[in-house]
């Protein structure tokens, strides 16, 4: 088998294609909810013009969780006509899809027709935040822990054995298969833990923050893709009925070059960002963000104990946390804010937070806020099972 690390990724792909090991390249980007999207290209098409920009309908970067477009997002709507956005492949990210025979992937940067980075792309926002921290001499690395649950259907957990197999599965089992695939894709997988109630945890990194975000996307993708053909589901929804613990994205940040930080002040600054850390009404059921702890080391500061909703996009979360760190270090307005009652209130806090707009960009916030409000409004209008159970015979 050809090995990616022996020389440049493009040369590896050429050799792998020639050897018949790779037939398809996923040319990819990540949406605001962490879903891995893109097109599949035959490898010879990709190799024919590896740096060619690929067009996509730009509305798909501002859709809701069901892929529905809404008209309140200024970046794209029927008035803008849903033109193309363009993906410019980053060839250094080219790797094998370790869990899918014959496939490679490449991440890319989303840009406008004119080549400007799209401010609605979480990866671009994270790059913006990391770049600004870098100007202050701070480099960010992250250890992420992706948590989820294996279920056959809503409310039907799959009991997992300690080796990551479902109880009725032959070895190696879906979790092991995903984990081994991730390793083949170069993902820095530290550990895999499975629980009898179907819960699993994949610990990743440490990796530079941008790479860590992409690795979290790959981890979720691998888990979804190895489970779906077996009629199973890797579920990253935060709270599930009958399950006490919420699924979360665990985060440890290593801030090289950072001499100190008031973690209390940082924690306060997470309040207006809560809708980015917990981007659904379900995620809010996990309660407000925990207060992180900090430890100064030789290279800088370690922040531990941070968490976001498991379903949140890792790039968005890391961008939000980076923005909070930067704003705290800059002493930007950190006035204490009450925790929002729900997602709609959290969206308003984000909307009104000047330093969040400054760090994350106006375009990002202006499009995130209506989507968050749309989600909250949808829930407010929905009649839930709980209501039916409780009120059906009322009156």
């Amino acid at each position: 088998m050809t090995v990616e690390t022996s020389h440049g990724p493009l040369e590896w792909l050429r050799e792998a294609a020639a050897a018949g090991e790779v037939h398809t390249v996923r040319v990819s980007w990540v949406d605001r909810l962490g879903t891995w999207r893109g097109k599949r290209l035959p490898v010879d098409v990709f190799l024919g013009s590896p740096q060619r920009r690929i067009g996509f309908c730009d509305g798909m970067i501002v859709v809701d969780v069901n892929c529905d477009v809404i008209q309140e997002t200024p970046f794209s709507n029927f008035e803008t006509g849903y033109p193309d956005m363009y993906l410019r492949p980053r060839l250094e990210s080219l790797r094998r899809v370790g869990w899918s025979e014959g496939e490679a992937f490449v991440f890319g940067s989303l840009e406008s027709h004119g080549g400007e980075p799209l401010g609605v792309s979480p990866a671009n926002v994270l790059a913006r935040v990391l770049g600004r921290l870098g100007e202050s001499g701070i480099a960010v690395a992250a250890r992420l822990t992706v948590c989820g649950r294996l279920q056959r259907a809503p409310g039907e957990p799959v009991a997992l054995l300690p080796d990551g197999r479902g109880r009725d599965e032959e070895p190696p089992g879906v979790l092991r298969q995903a984990a081994e695939g991730l390793r083949r894709s170069g993902v820095a997988l530290r550990s895999l833990e499975a629980q009898p109630d179907g819960a699993f945890r994949l610990a990743l990194g440490p990796s530079p923050a941008a790479a860590a975000a992409e690795q979290a996307v790959l981890a979720k993708a691998a888990l979804k893709e190895v489970t779906r053909p077996r009629g199973l589901h890797a579920v990253f929804m935060t709270r599930l009925p009958g399950v006490a613990a919420a699924s979360e994205l665990g985060i440890e940040l290593e801030l090289a070059g950072c001499g100190g930080l008031d973690t209390g002040a940082l924690w306060q600054r997470l309040t207006p960002l809560r809708s980015l850390l917990q981007p659904s009404v379900n995620a809010f059921k996990a309660g407000p963000p925990r207060r992180p702890s900090g430890a100064l080391g030789e290279d800088g500061l370690s922040l531990r104990g941070l968490a976001a909703a498991s379903e949140a996009d890792a790039a968005t979360v890391l961008a939000a946390l980076g923005a909070a760190v930067g704003a705290t270090l800059e002493g930007a307005d950190g006035g204490e804010r009450a925790q929002p009652e729900g997602l709609a209130g959290a969206a308003t806090l984000l909307d009104e937070c000047g330093w969040a707009r400054d760090w994350l960009g106006e375009q990002f916030v202006d499009n995130a806020v209506p989507l968050l409000r749309h989600e909250a409004a949808g829930f407010a209008a929905a009649v839930t099972d709980w209501e039916l159970d409780r009120y059906w015979s009322a009156g």
């Binding site: 398809t24 599949r40 309908c57 008035e79 006509g81 849903y82 992937f105 779906r228």
Partner: protein
């Protein structure tokens, strides 16, 4: 003796591809005849009253081996009657369009986007329900789509990308641009073999325009550009349409309402037309705007093109593409000037020319169209109208599930 089987593929008037299995030796030793109903039978097919036979003449330049079926090649055929190309042969028509352009040293390049659904035969529903446009992890049907991409490329059909589309279980396939006839041939083969490959994996495929009320419709988008001596005649630097490009666009746009029936040969096709559906409802154009029927897309000299977005996925590719090109060339010949490009949401602009909303309206627009009569050979146009005439009556007379569900006082099936 060459013992390979040869599958001859031809397209009937309503756009359906048919196959007959023969051998090259048989083709060279005498005419391969098929019932006329396979060309002019319409949706009634063999049950139609179209009697007699027609002759298939393979275009051996299109012959390619089937990668998944050793010993079998496929070849696109033209239909002949009385030792001449049949006036009802849509491929011969398109070839004539390309040859007419070539006589003026022009080459028409076209690229086709196909949309289709993969269907679970057990349920008759899409293989999955959730819309997940561009998702890379929606892998339930990916083995089929991967096989489709790889097998098509192995048989020189230039599939260059695919992705889940804006319907659950719906996919889009992009085919590389090629000269006009090759583009239509390749799209025809891709459409034909989608179903073959899907069935090999236990699923069905459909290119029906609007299979389900609650799911997106499937369209066909044709990207087109005009070349002369290696230069793209639509391109004007830095990023605009040339005078020829504007005139071509004007001609194309003018034709959309009157030729709508060519892109939508079934009553079902008109269920696509709805505000916000990403299928056009008005004859408007814009630069990179998905609410319009025609889009100008810029990408340097190599990538500047005009995209026609009105056809349904089940249209007659040869007829639709040929008529579009003729309309565009007619625009150039007349020095036509397009109306201003639309800005904003074309669905909400009441002053734009409306496209036919029903099959009957589209039928009447085509039947009464002076433009269609100018552009299309009379016999071909007449045959097309004849073969679709029963659909007019049937469309009016048929009862649908929707009507039973909405109007019946007791459950009916």
């Amino acid at each position: 003796m060459d013992e390979r089987w040869l599958d001859l593929v031809w397209t009937d008037l309503v756009g359906r591809a048919h196959v007959v299995r023969t051998t090259r030796e048989a083709c060279e030793s005498g005419p391969i005849e098929v019932p006329l109903a396979r060309l002019a039978g319409g949706f009634a097919g063999a049950a139609s009253e179209a009697g007699g036979v027609v002759e298939l003449r393979p275009d051996f330049a299109t012959e390619r081996a089937l990668p998944w079926d050793p010993g079998v090649s496929v070849c696109v055929a033209d239909v002949y009657e009385d030792d001449a190309p049949s006036p009802r042969c849509v491929r011969s028509f398109l070839q004539g369009v390309a040859e007419g352009a070539a006589a003026e040293s022009l080459t028409i390049e076209a690229a086709v986007e196909l949309e289709f659904y993969l269907v679970d035969p057990a349920t008759g529903r899409p293989v999955y329900g959730q819309v997940d446009n561009y998702s890379l992890s929606r892998v339930e049907a990916e083995p089929i789509v991967t096989a489709f991409r790889n097998e098509m490329r192995a048989m020189a059909v230039g599939v260059e990308a695919s992705n889940p589309e804006y319907g659950g279980g719906q996919f889009e396939v992009n085919i590389a641009h090629a000269d006009l006839l090759a583009a239509a041939d390749q799209a025809t083969l891709a459409r034909l073999f989608t179903g073959v490959l899907a069935r090999r994996h236990g699923l069905d495929a459909t290119y029906m325009s609007k299979p389900w009320t609650d799911q997106s419709s499937s369209g066909i988008h044709v990207h087109q550009s005009l070349w002369k001596e290696g230069r793209n005649l639509f391109f004007a630097p830095p990023e605009q349409l040339s005078e020829a490009g504007r005139s071509y666009l004007a001609g194309l746009l003018e034709s959309v309402p009157e030729l709508a029936l060519l892109g939508s040969p079934t009553p079902n096709g008109f269920h696509r037309r709805a505000d916000g559906s990403f299928a056009p409802t008005v004859a408007a154009w814009a630069t990179d705007n998905r609410t319009t029927a025609v889009r100008a897309v810029f990408g340097g000299e190599g990538g500047t093109r005009i995209e026609h977005r009105d056809g349904g996925a089940d249209c007659n590719l040869y007829l639709t593409m040929g008529a579009q090109v003729l309309a565009g060339l007619d625009g150039i010949a007349r020095g036509a000037e397009p109306p201003p490009a639309v800005t904003g949401n074309a669905y909400e602009q009441a002053d734009l020319p409306a496209l036919p909303r029903t099959f009957v309206e589209a039928y009447e627009r085509l039947r009464d169209s002076e433009l269609a009569a100018l552009l299309l050979p009379a016999e071909l146009l007449g045959a097309y109208l004849d073969v679709l005439e029963p659909e007019v009556e049937l469309a009016i007379l048929s009862s649908s599930d929707w009507e039973r569900e909405r109007y019946a006082e007791v459950p009916l099936r």
